[in-house]
Symmetry: C2
Subunit: 282 residues, 2 copies
């Protein structure tokens, strides 16, 4: 499908993308670009990429450049890449926020060579070691501002994600960021805060270790996520995240009030309502 | 190990206990007791129990009576059972709160025949259909006020849980309830509240359905849990749960403040601290 693909950022997402390209033979050569020499070497050792080199040299050789780095760094890097690409090259990003990036490149002369995407997959781990085979299959990929990409570039990227086993959803960047705040960003904040709650109050860590059952682990596991990745996401999407966070605190206060007042009927009502999530989750 | 075991409440926990008894051949006969005729029939159909009958008749025939019903109903049912048992019988409960029950039976003449336990396992599902084979293996079981149980009864129950593959931890009832608030009860409240947050704000449910990735699902799955089971737990443990809930809201407010003030250093500090949970979770 591609001759040469450059992956900028060979961590959890970029690394898994590299593995998928190789597993499905979608690229003849995969080049890795990383600010960290040890990360690049690790990606090479793990067979995620065939070669590592500097950004400019890598971009020059590639028909696809896939950017999977923290969303704050994505902004300048994307401009650097768009400034230098030819009309036969395609640039894609995989970031969890879309509005800041789409706004930032809106007037770039090469905007049409860029396809803004968010493959909705991740784990709480990071770095090349966190990359997994067949990561994206069965998941949803959001494509934003599809109409601003060149139709052929868009078609190529749609086919690529479909080949990876993803289903495609189209959204405006603004709408994407609102939805992402609800279904992804707030989960991470509550999980970080829950970890801090337990760490703050519970000094006898052995007791946590021994008693923490499956429920605790599943709600708190996202607290292991990378601050370097999530900090910039929360900052770029801060208005939406703050809206959802305020609502979440208000919902927690309802539970608090029901307990303080020993209002069992209200407590049951809150839980019965929450059970409606069964309709949405499988 | 046992001739006849009665399981009072053949849902998620009681049902899984019945399956474990049968899989490991720890009982010649398992009797199910349920307030609901259809639940009892379901347990019979699923092979969780061999017979169903009324509480009094079942208790009379059994050397072990295992109580796995909502913690509010446990209080009167436990008294009914303790009032009628003989010195050769053992009664065990599996509730998620321990202090109310232990206090309630403290002066019962048959207190020594009772072993207060909390096998730390569960899922968000309920009823006999939710019962699973080999549920307890590798998990921790808390035994409370062990010194108030008859040594032989205690030894029998310790052996039983060890046979199920559980490791044992001993705590006072008060300490148990504090720990349970941190590592189990708060996770359920945050999950219920997160579901309500999303359901409240997000009207386009298709978007949730399509975009909700693994992170969302894992933090919100406990919101599918049974209100009939969890309401009484929260009420019985309300003081501890309120303490943890207040701390959790305070932790969320720190995230809120860091975003409102665009204080990136503080945001990173909060997440770095949360990452310490890695030491505790595998």
């Amino acid at each position: 499908m591609f001759n040469t693909v450059t992956i900028v950022g060979v961590g959890l997402i970029g690394g898994s993308f590299g593995l998928a390209l190789k597993d499905l033979r979608l690229a003849s050569k995969v080049i890795g670009v990383s600010r960290s020499g040890s990360t690049a070497q690790k990606a090479l050792q793990l067979g995620i990429v065939d070669e590592v080199m500097g950004l400019e040299e890598a971009v020059r050789q590639s028909d696809l450049i896939y950017v999977a780095i923290p969303v704050d760094v994505t902004l300048p890097v994307m401009h650097t890449i768009l400034d230098m690409i030819r009309p036969d090259q395609i640039v894609v990003d995989a970031g969890s926020t879309k509005q800041a990036l789409c706004t930032s490149v809106a007037d770039h002369p090469n905007r049409a060579r860029f396809v803004a995407t968010h493959p909705m997959w991740g784990t709480e781990y990071s770095g090349p070691e966190a990359a997994v085979h067949d990561a994206f299959r069965g998941r949803t990929c959001v494509i934003c501002e599809a109409e601003k990409s060149d139709p052929q570039a868009l078609a190529t990227i749609k086919k690529m994600y479909t080949d990876l086993g993803m289903s495609l959803v189209y959204m405006e960047a603004e709408g994407h960021d609102v939805h992402a705040a609800y279904v992804s960003h707030i989960s991470h904040i509550t999980s970080f805060a829950l970890a801090n709650t337990v760490l703050e109050k519970e000094r006898e860590e052995d007791a946590i270790f021994e008693l923490a059952g499956g429920g605790f682990e599943s709600t708190v596991r996202l607290a292991k996520s990378s601050p370097a990745m999530w900090g910039p996401i929360f900052m770029q999407n801060r208005e939406n995240v703050l809206d959802v966070l305020n609502e979440h605190i208000a919902q927690l206060r309802k539970f608090k009030s029901s307990l303080e007042k020993e209002n069992y009927a209200f407590l049951m009502e809150l839980m019965d309502n929450a059970n409606k999530i069964r309709r949405i989750l499988k």
